[in-house]
């Protein structure tokens, strides 16, 4: 990649934007059909009411809330990781950042839809928004559900800006390369960007501030999602460990989602020369670390519950260890630890993209199961045995789940059709040599000093 000229980088990375292949249309048709089916299932639910779902007393939260937590977790792939790598000035991040940031924005959008679907009457979602109403309906600001609204709103706003800022120079590049209606479109989108030193500096300053601000916001978002559960006195929910446990799980699933998306882009858009095996190796190492942290949290949480031996909590505990939910629990352990740990720990396997991608697929499946297992077993074993219940999803919920995954793919492909999926200008910065040779220093020599550089007292400016 380092031997490529700027013209070649432009050509390679603008090709997906400028050329539309048959593969693109096939993918659109396939994913669009699944999304259409999911929209159909949603409309069926709107028409018939939430009786078409599998939820029933005492399990009132199931697939929709699982999907909500799962997608908010996936959203941690992008902005958080991108911000950390940007602050650390990790140069290998350059081809990865935009792929990651896009995941955040779309995952948040998809995740944010699920609580609205879950309302049952989604057209009343605006009741969550504080506005003066003659019925005096006002959000309960002590509730974690209201906190969710603010946290997700802030994270989505921040992530959109974090994604959009560095897109501006690339949109200006596309503007210079297209004609007709697209020229007009990209002229508007590029906001009149030229690339003066002032504009570049403001862009970099803005990105730096955003990177610093967005990290605590990202951590707060999944912590607040965890508090949706932890603030309720429900067995195995009311736990102080839930905040960091959820954040760790979110980063874990997020990195896995990012690796899958990168492997997909690499193949479909022909980006083999930009998304290199070394990028998968580095992300694989991060994934390995998160795998161990996740295992530590799960063990810690389970051990504490088991040691306490409190009857209501143990009912939930045993239902996941050897009861109705045990097959899912052990599949989760298998997917989140038994499969990925050796794949990621053995260097020879981690150095293959296939190995890292297999581990990532297992983790994505395992993390969805984890979210389900946090929610449903606790609700179905809540304190009094006569109130125990069960849950089985219907075709409506399963179709919407599958559709949300297809929507992610569809949005991702559409985005890469309109915007270069790799930040071209950032890649160019990484492709030229370090330039510190031109930095000027001013040597101030005291009168009568022996500075070997300066010949006479006063100021001397020299190149180093």
């Amino acid at each position: 990649m380092s031997e490529k000229t700027i013209a070649q980088i432009n050509e390679d990375l603008l090709r997906p934007v400028l050329q539309t292949t048959r593969r693109f249309w096939i993918a659109m048709l396939f994913l669009g059909s699944i999304v259409a089916a999911a929209v159909g299932a949603f409309l069926y639910q709107v028409w018939n009411g939430i009786g078409v779902w599998g939820i029933n007393r005492p399990v009132f939260w199931a697939f929709d809330i699982t999907n909500f937590v799962f997608w908010i977790g996936i959203s941690h792939a992008g902005t958080l990781i991108s911000a950390i790598l940007r602050i650390a000035n990790a140069t290998w991040r350059r081809p990865v950042t935009r792929c990651a940031e896009v995941i955040t924005v779309f995952a948040l959008m998809i995740g944010g839809i699920f609580p609205i679907i879950h309302l049952g009457r989604p057209w009343l979602f605006f009741w969550m928004v504080p506005y003066p109403s003659e019925r005096q309906i006002w959000p309960q600001l002590r509730s974690p559900l209201a906190w969710d609204f603010f946290a997700i709103g802030t994270y989505l706003s921040g992530s959109l800006i974090f994604l959009s800022y560095p897109m501006i120079p690339d949109l200006a590049l596309v503007r210079d390369k297209v004609t007709g209606w697209r020229k007009k479109l990209y002229t508007v989108l590029a906001l009149g960007w030229r690339g003066t030193p002032k504009q570049w500096h403001r862009l970099e300053t803005g990105m730096h501030i955003m990177a610093v601000v967005i990290i605590p916001v990202a951590v707060s978002v999944h912590t607040i999602v965890s508090w949706d559960f932890a603030m309720a006195p429900v067995p195995m929910w009311h736990s102080t460990i839930f905040g960091p446990y959820f954040v760790a799980g979110a980063i874990f699933s997020g990195i896995a989602g990012l690796i899958i998306a990168m492997a997909f882009l690499r193949k479909v858009l022909g980006l083999e020369e930009y998304l290199l095996p070394i990028h998968f190796d580095y992300l694989g190492k991060l994934l390995l670390m998160m795998c161990l942290i996740w295992a530590y949290f799960v063990f810690s949480e389970r051990l504490t519950v088991w040691y306490g031996n409190e009857s209501a909590e143990m009912a939930v505990f045993w239902s996941t260890q050897r009861g109705a939910f045990a097959p899912m629990f052990w599949t989760m352990v298998f997917c989140n630890f038994i499969i990925p740990f050796p794949l990621l720990a053995i260097k020879r396997i981690r150095n293959t993209i296939t190995g890292v991608v297999i581990a990532s697929w297992a983790i994505v499946v395992g993390m969805w199961l984890e979210r389900f297992l946090i929610i449903v077993p606790s609700l179905s074993h809540k304190y009094l045995p006569y109130a125990f219940g069960s849950y089985r999803p219907t075709w409506v919920e399963i179709t919407i789940l599958v559709g949300s995954n297809a929507a992610m793919g569809l949005l991702y492909i559409l985005f890469s059709k309109f915007v270069p999926i790799i930040a071209i200008w950032e890649l160019k910065v990484g492709s030229h040599k370090p330039v510190f040779v031109r930095k000027q220093v001013t040597v101030i020599r005291e009168s009568g000093g022996t500075d070997p550089i300066a010949a006479e007292p006063g100021l001397l400016t020299t190149d180093i």
Partner: protein, 173 residues
Amino acid sequence: MHVVYGLYPDPDSAQRAFDALRGGGEASGFDSRRIAVVSSEPFDGYEFFKKDHKTAIPWLAVLGGLAGGIAGFSFAAYTQAVYPIPTGGMPIVPFYADGVITFELTMLGAILTTLVMVLLTARLPNWRRRLYDPEVSDGKILVGLIDPPATSRAAVEQRLLEAGASQLKEFSG
């Protein structure tokens, strides 16, 4: 505004052009504020790229955050005071619970202030015709002099060419 400019293939030749226009401190040199530079990537470390680096955006972001935090806490506390509900002996205006809203709106305030200030100081959006050359997107670096005096016009052109520009162009707008 009238600009005479050259397009340079690499940052070293752009730096030479920048130095030549400044005249290396000679009396015939031009103030760096009159030297226009446009590039397709940032060139940190080069002197021609050091223009206009002073900014108060980080401090304004802090102020925006403070404003957001105050607004967030006031909003939550006012709501709880105006719509009081039974809290079972707990405070009507709870510090910990309102802290969440305060934190999120602090961050939102900082984010939105940064957005607005970056756009304002970078003068975006601005769709009017301004100094630009599409060759910049192919990696060329534009270096030129704004409103060159008629008396030294030939000398300016000579300096730009000697620094490595393949040809000179003009912009009026």
